[in-house]
Every structure is written in C-alpha cells, then in structure tokens.
Symmetry: C2
Subunit: 290 residues, 2 copies
C-alpha cells in the first residue's frame, strides 16, 4: 500500500454540527477529557518522548477562545486556542519542516489543518470590508465583524501542480530557492474565472512556454504554508521547446522514466534531486514512473 499523501489522513471527526450549536459546544468545552493542542506560535511542540504532538487538558482559565478541531471515536473533543493578539507569525517560515519527520502521518495531517487555521486567525483580526476588529465565531471556523457584521471564513487557496508529458518524458523545473539540484513539478495558484484544467494550461504556458492539449487529475493534498490545496495533474504537451519565465523558473528539463526512477531512488548520478516525500510533486513523479 502506498504511503498516504502528506498532510492527509487526520484522525479526528471534525464534528461540524458542534460549530453552530452553542449548547453542544459548551458541553464539549466543559468535558473534563477535552484536550488542547500545544503550539509555539504556529509551530508544534513535540511530546515528552520527543515525538508526536503535545496535548494538554483544556484549561478553563485560559482567556483565549478554544477552536474545535474535532472529536475522536470515544467522543473526546480536541481544541486549539486562538493565537495571542500580540503574536507575530511568519507563515512562510519553514523551520518546522525540519521537525515534521517526528510526526506520524495522521498527526501531521491534524497539525497541518490546525496550523492553517491558527495562522489564518492571526492574520485576519480585522474586517477586510470595513477595517473594524472581528471576533471569532463558529467555534473558530470563521470571524465576524463587530461593526458591519460581514462574515469571513478561513482561506483555502487552490494550487495546480502538474507534470507536462511529451514523447515519454515529463517536465520538471526548479525555483532559485530550491535545494541545490532539486527539480519539481511546475505549479501555480488557480485564479478567479478559470477551471483547474485552464489553470494548468495557463501556468505551463506562462512558466515554460508550452501548450498542452489535455489535462487529467491525479491526486490532491493540503499544504499548510500557509493554506494551499495542492491539486496534482498531468497534461500532454504539444511540443518540447521551452521558453522559461526566469522570474519563476531558473531551469527546466525533460526527464524520462529511467531518470525519474533514478531520482526517486536517490541515485547519486540521477540527473536531478527528487522533491521530498511530503510533497505531492514526488507522488506525481512516482505515479508517472510506475
């Protein structure tokens, strides 16, 4: 059985019916078994044995609002606290990436969702419509303006990430900030007014100058840096000539199945370094090479 895609497989039922039922929510927060996820800013804190997430009992003396992550199969509710108002957060910091191997796939998925949620609150304390302060509602799954009553909900930003295929090869590219030698699938945010398929075609043309004639879906995963939904696709290129957008892509190469397999195996003489296991780009390469 293949490993689950990174950041998928969270082990809690989100129990969304509690979000809009104040009585049920109050009962959950009063449950003596209720747990709260320990965070340092938006980074997780490993458990006592150096692995896993750290949970504490939900402290009724903490003034920050509890946000409902969900319930386990025993009915125990799990929360995370609204961030401190003074908390400054660099959502692009990937320091935590180095600690992620300490988590099981299921804990990683749960943490990823909690991280996106807490980060969103920290950066959305004011109403985008009128500029007034907002307050958390729906058990943490939204904020409402105290002035104009506009409601705001956590962002999920769809990103297409894709392998273009031509004559038995796929296109991989690298951004300047990638680790030396690493190449990955090209990617970009979906814009208002386009389908996934149109976004794939636009990005491949913008970044690499290639036209594609059809697009197929492969897989998806959340990517909590800060709130992307990665949607992995394949596309058939109409030619192999490249015109790179060098502000986005430093270099790009067409690689065949043997070269992809060598990269995935970590061979020293592979023509490129494959993206890491948590990235859906690696899954796309594995799927294509298989």
């Amino acid at each position: 059985m293949p490993a689950p895609l990174g950041f998928t497989g969270a082990w809690l039922d989100r129990a969304d019916q509690l979000r809009t039922d104040p009585e049920a929510f109050a009962t959950a927060t009063a449950d003596p078994r209720a747990r709260c996820l320990t965070l340092d800013g938006i980074d997780f804190v490993p458990g006592d044995d150096g692995t896993g997430l750290r949970w504490e009992l939900l402290d009724p003396a903490d003034a920050r609002a509890p946000m409902l992550l969900g319930r386990d199969e025993r009915g125990i509710p799990y929360f995370v606290r609204e961030p401190h108002p003074a908390q400054r957060i660099d959502a692009r910091s990937r320091t935590v990436m180095r600690l992620l191997p300490l988590l099981s796939a299921q804990d990683l998925a749960l943490y990823g969702g909690a991280r996106s949620l807490v980060d969103w609150h920290a950066r959305h304390r004011f109403c985008a419509t009128c500029g007034s302060p907002t307050e958390l509602f729906r058990a943490g799954w939204g904020r409402r303006c105290g002035q104009c009553r506009a409601e705001h909900f956590p962002r999920v930003d769809p990103v297409v990430i894709m392998l273009a295929e031509y004559d038995g090869r796929v296109l991989v590219g690298r951004q300047r900030q990638f680790a030396p030698g690493m190449f990955s699938a090209l990617a970009g945010f979906v814009e208002p007014g386009e389908s996934l398929e149109e976004a794939v075609a636009r990005e491949l043309f913008e970044e690499a100058g290639i036209r594609v004639s059809d697009v197929t879906y492969v897989a998806s995963q959340p990517w909590p840096f800060p709130s992307s939904l990665m949607i992995g696709c394949r596309a058939r290129a109409e030619g192999s000539a490249l015109t790179l957008d060098e502000t986005e892509i430093e270099a790009a190469i067409w690689v065949d199945r043997d070269e992809v397999r060598a990269a995935l195996a970590g061979d020293m003489d592979a023509p490129f370094l494959a993206p890491p296991p948590l990235a859906i780009a690696r899954h796309l390469l594995e799927d294509w090479a298989a």
Copy 2:
C-alpha cells in the same frame, strides 16, 4: 462535442507578465485600442443589440484604477475598473443569473472572472491583518496594505460537488431555497487540512450520513457567486441509508439512470427537476447517465 462547462473558455490571454512590469502595463493602458468592460456594480450590461458584453474605450479621465483582464490575439488589452469606493455590492444577488443566457459561453467565462475580481476588491478595501486601508497593486490582481505592507490576493474558494453512487443509483438532494422540484449534487467548501477526497467523504457523511470508499475526479468550473471553484467528483457509497442534516438538505433521493435521463430531458414525469445547464451538477449527471 459537449457544450463547454459554464464559466469556462474565456477568450483572453491573461498576460500576467504585464502585472508586474510597470512599463509594459503603462504601455497597455495607453494603447488607443484599449477596452474597458462596462459594469453596473458587478453586473454586466448587455451590448447595444441586447446581447454580449458592453465594452468602451478605456477612458484616461476615469480616476479609478484599471485592472488588466488580458489581451486578445491582436494584442488589444482589456480592462475592468476598480469599483467605486462607495459601491455597495451584494455578491449573493443572483439577479444577473436571469441575464446570463444573453452571453456566449466565452463572454460568460470572461465576465465571471471579472465579476469575481471586482467583487473581491469591493469587499477587501482594508487590511485583514491590521485594519488599515489597502491599495490595489499587480494590475488589479492583489491589494497591499499602506501601513503593514501585508499583501492580499483574490480569493478562490474550492468547493467539492459530488454524486455518491450505490447499486446503480446516485444521490441527489435539495436545499430549501432551490426551485420547486429541483434536486442537485451535494456540495460543500473544502476546509483547511483536507484533500479533495477527504472533503467529499466528510460532506457526504455530514449532509447525508453516508460513508464512501473511494472518490474520483470528474471536472471543474469556476462559479463567480462570489468566487467558488467547483470541483466535481463521484464517490462509491457503502450503503444507501440516509441521515440528513436538515439545516443543509431538505430532502435527498437515490435515482437510477433512467430517472436521471428523464430529468435531463425535461420529462414532466421525471422524479426531479435537473439543475440548469450552467451548473456543473448537471454535467455530473450527464456524465454519469452517459
């Protein structure tokens, strides 16, 4: 050849390289052929013959910032203006839905993207991070805070919409506000921390009480009310017993292929009224029935 999915197939190249190149952008706005889309709030205004979109030459005397929609194959740039600050917009209003048949599929797609963009600006004049006023940048494809310099980008909200299948039937449901007799595919927003497949499974369990064992992707389309990206899927249900969330779903029924075909054909004695042609739900039903 099947009709294109609603709101897809816009006929402009988005020309994103102009967004970050002030000189090229100034050249485009100074092009004497430059066009500007006429809107009434965020609704389109039909052309002189009562159909199509209405375009005017870009008026240099208009103080509102021009936002770049794209360029056509002759290089003519097309814009839409930032909305008036005093403009109040009800993005949920679907009055415009009655006028949509006046547009070709390609104009409809272009309008949908422009509508989402203009609506986003109208509701995001302030910085969600610090509450200060923001200014348009990137040729209309973002806003930046004058105070804390935070950058904000137009939202695209992914929504899963899906047909659960069991024993030769699919599940369709209705919300209270639907037209009488109409049933459609169930749907819901993707949340932080879940893949598309997980969102499909969660929504089907929350709304209808059914568990699904696998999920496949079918198609996608933008839905500019205000900024959804509809991602159409199928899933295999493990059973047919329903437990409806009646705050979301008023009724749900399992229908077989003959019943779906009758509904799509508009038969008076079909067991339900099919969703309208622009909706991806109709495409999902057509795809399944075929």
